[in-house]
C-alpha cells in the first residue's frame, strides 16, 4: 500500500462517524448496482433512488440516498447513506449505445457523460466507509475491472462485501465468483426479484456494523 493510501485509510478510520456511514455500490456497468440501490430503498424507505435500464451506463452521476436504517432479526439497527455509483469500465464506445437503439448524437452525449461518471466513481472511492461490489454472476469474474475495484478497496482498507447479482438467471455461476475472490464473503442475490436479500442485509451488518 502506498503511503498516501495508508494515511487516507488511517484518517478515515479515526474520523469515521458511526452515524454517517457511507455505503458505496461499486461494480462494472450493468451489473445491477442501481437495481440493488432501488431494492434497498424500497425495502427500507418505500422510495426508489435510481433509474434502471438494459442500456449500460444508465447511472452516469453519483447518487446518494441519505440515512437509510435497516434492522436485523436481533433488532440491531444499521444506518448508512447509500451511494450508487456509475459503473467502472476501461472502454466506452458510443457505437455500442447506437446498437441499443440510441441516435448518434444521444449516444455520443451518453458516452461523454459515462466517461465523467467513471472518473467520479474512482474519485469517490476514498470517501467510502464500506462497499458492496456488485458483480453480474453470469459474467466472467476474472475481468480486470473487477480485480482493480476489489484491489483498490483492499489497498484502502475499506470493508468489502461482494454481491453476486442475477442469480435468478440460468447462466449464473456463483461458484466461479467464489473461486475468483476466495478471501471475501460472497452473497448471491437477485436484486430484481428480491431473492436472498435477508442474507445480503446480514452480510452488511457483518461488514459495516
Amino acid at each position: 500500500m502506498s503511503i498516501q493510501l495508508w494515511f487516507s485509510s488511517f484518517f478515515r478510520n479515526i474520523f469515521r462517524n458511526k452515524n454517517n456511514v457511507k455505503l458505496g455500490l461499486y461494480g462494472p456497468p450493468n451489473a445491477g448496482k442501481s437495481t440493488l440501490a432501488n431494492r434497498i430503498c424500497k425495502d427500507w424507505s418505500d422510495q426508489e433512488m435510481s433509474i434502471v435500464s438494459n442500456v449500460p451506463h444508465e447511472t452516469r452521476e453519483i447518487l446518494i440516498k441519505e440515512q437509510i436504517s435497516i434492522k436485523n432479526k436481533k433488532g440491531k439497527t444499521l444506518s448508512f447513506s447509500l451511494v450508487d455509483t456509475p459503473g467502472i469500465a476501461t472502454k466506452i464506445d458510443y457505437e455500442d449505445f447506437m446498437k441499443r437503439g440510441l441516435k448518434e448524437g444521444i449516444a455520443k452525449k451518453r458516452a461523454k457523460e459515462a466517461t465523467k461518471g467513471v472518473i467520479e466513481s474512482i474519485k469517490w472511492l476514498d470517501s467510502m466507509d464500506a462497499v458492496a461490489v456488485v458483480l453480474d454472476a453470469t459474467e466472467d469474474p476474472y475481468s480486470q475491472v473487477n480485480i482493480t475495484i476489489v484491489g483498490n478497496l483492499q489497498a484502502r482498507n475499506i470493508p468489502v462485501l461482494i454481491v453476486a447479482n442475477k442469480v435468478d438467471l440460468k447462466k449464473a455461476k456463483i461458484n466461479k465468483l467464489m473461486d475468483a475472490f476466495p478471501q471475501y464473503t460472497i452473497i448471491g442475490i437477485s436484486a430484481k426479484y428480491g431473492t436472498h436479500m435477508d442474507e445480503f442485509y446480514e452480510g452488511l451488518f457483518k461488514v459495516v456494523g
Binding site: T90, I92, K108, Y142, T148
Partner: protein, 102 residues
Amino acid sequence: MTIVKQEKIVLLEGQLQKEEEATLIEQTMGEISDKFRGIELAVIYPEKNNMDVLKRLRFDIARLLVGNRQGFTIVGPASIVKRIKQNPGSIELLTQEKRRRK
C-alpha cells in the same frame, strides 16, 4: 497511453500497483473521443500462494530492492483488443480487425 493511442499493444514488465490501475482508468476516460474508445487492460500477478516461506521471503526482498518487477501488464487499445480473458492459470488476448470509421 500515447503508444496505446497509436493503436499498439503495450507489454510491460512488472505489475501496476492497484492505485496505478485506477489512475490509468481515470486517464483513459479523460482521453476517450470519437476515435479513441478506451483500452483493454490485464495485470498478471505472480502466484505467491504456491511459494514456500523461503521463496516468499526472497520474493519480497527482491521486490523491495528492485521494485515490483514480477508479473506483467498488458495494455491495448479497445479498437484492436477485443477482450483479454484471464483465468488463474492462463491468459487469452482476442483481437479484432480494425473497423473502418466514417
